[in-house]
Amino acid sequence: MAEFRLPANSRIVKGITHAAPAGARELRQVRIYRFTPDSGENPRVDTFGLDLASCGPMVLDALIQLKATVDSSLTFRRSCREGICGSCAMNINGVNRLACTTSMKELSGDIKIYPLPHMPVVKDLVPDLTNFYAQYAAVKPWLRTRTPAPPDRERLQSKEEQERIDRPAACILCACCSTACPSYWWNSDRFLGPAALLAAYRWIIDSRDEATGERLDELEDPFRLYRCHTIMNCTDVCPKDLNPARAIAEIKKMMVERQI
């Protein structure tokens, strides 16, 4: 049955408060979820006083600064710091987004940073994305054809055909959408989630792909596809402004189209 409380060892306890550096001019409180599985302790929320005047503008700047100057054990993923790698996806003030493209000025009140919701936590802000990546692999995200490739050039597609996959192919697999989806929270073992379904859609509508029917066959399942109840949190939170909800709706339309 549904569980309405977190397991006893996942409940959040009071954390440590780190005061702002002396002489801070523009003080902002940053509250960060901390969890170290090795310690055997419950997760806690630490409070950090941050001087915005001596820090970059983005949430990721704050995390890097706090790790460098206050607590070097603070753990998070980051790489490109410009919204293209998808590493620093986390829940900031209640919304899944990329720390590197979220300006602290846009956020009101204390800045509250948690890992992506409803995922196993490896440490602090680092969720275990094993299942998420396996779901991406499950939709076979590569070109599947029967016609041999032309010997002297690449497989061609028209400009319009390319433009159809431009947006869905821009997904950076940050997992903001899937982990914002209640259906994914309750059934991520069987529901593929918006990110994997958007990837499936990207290959279904690719003009060069010849496995459309097989791809639809593999998705036609009460759980894999039809756990989507059009909640649309996925589209709401996508940091790349993509539309996984629409992609899923289009897949559902194709399922009907091939029946009637």
Partner: protein
């Protein structure tokens, strides 16, 4: 402890190759319920009273009984599809899920049968 790969776990028992019928029927029944429910509400509101004589007279006339049967069947079918989704969403132990799905199915078929029986009884004039 399990040493299976994450991909094997995601692939599970494979695609059920079904679900589209359920989804399509849920949409069709909801579309059908719009005119049926409107007709039902408007009919009730315009009735002069709710005493037994008025209701049985209304139910014996013209298309009332067939429309009421359609309303009951569509509503119970739509409800069964919806409750099934709720159970699949929230009941995770496979035994409990199977049992509740079967019970919910039986309950809806019973409601449909009881509803149709009641309509026919009144409409055919044996409900007094």
């Amino acid at each position: 402890m399990s040493l299976t790969t994450p991909l094997r776990q995601v692939l599970g028992l494979g695609s059920a190759k079904s679900g589209v019928h359920h989804w399509w029927m849920q949409r069709l029944t909801s579309v059908a319920l719009v005119p049926l429910t409107l007709w039902f509400v408007v009919s009730l509101v315009t009735l002069p009273g709710f005493d037994h004589a008025t209701i049985s007279a209304w139910m014996s006339q013209g298309l009332t009984a067939p429309l009421l049967v359609l309303l009951v069947l569509t509503m119970t079918w739509h409800s069964r599809l919806g409750v099934q989704v709720v159970i699949e969403d929230y009941v995770h132990t496979s035994g409990a899920r199977t049992v509740s799905l079967v019970l919910v199915g039986f309950a809806h078929v019973f409601m449909a049968a009881a509803g149709v029986f009641a309509i026919l009884k009144v409409a055919l004039g044996r409900g007094a």
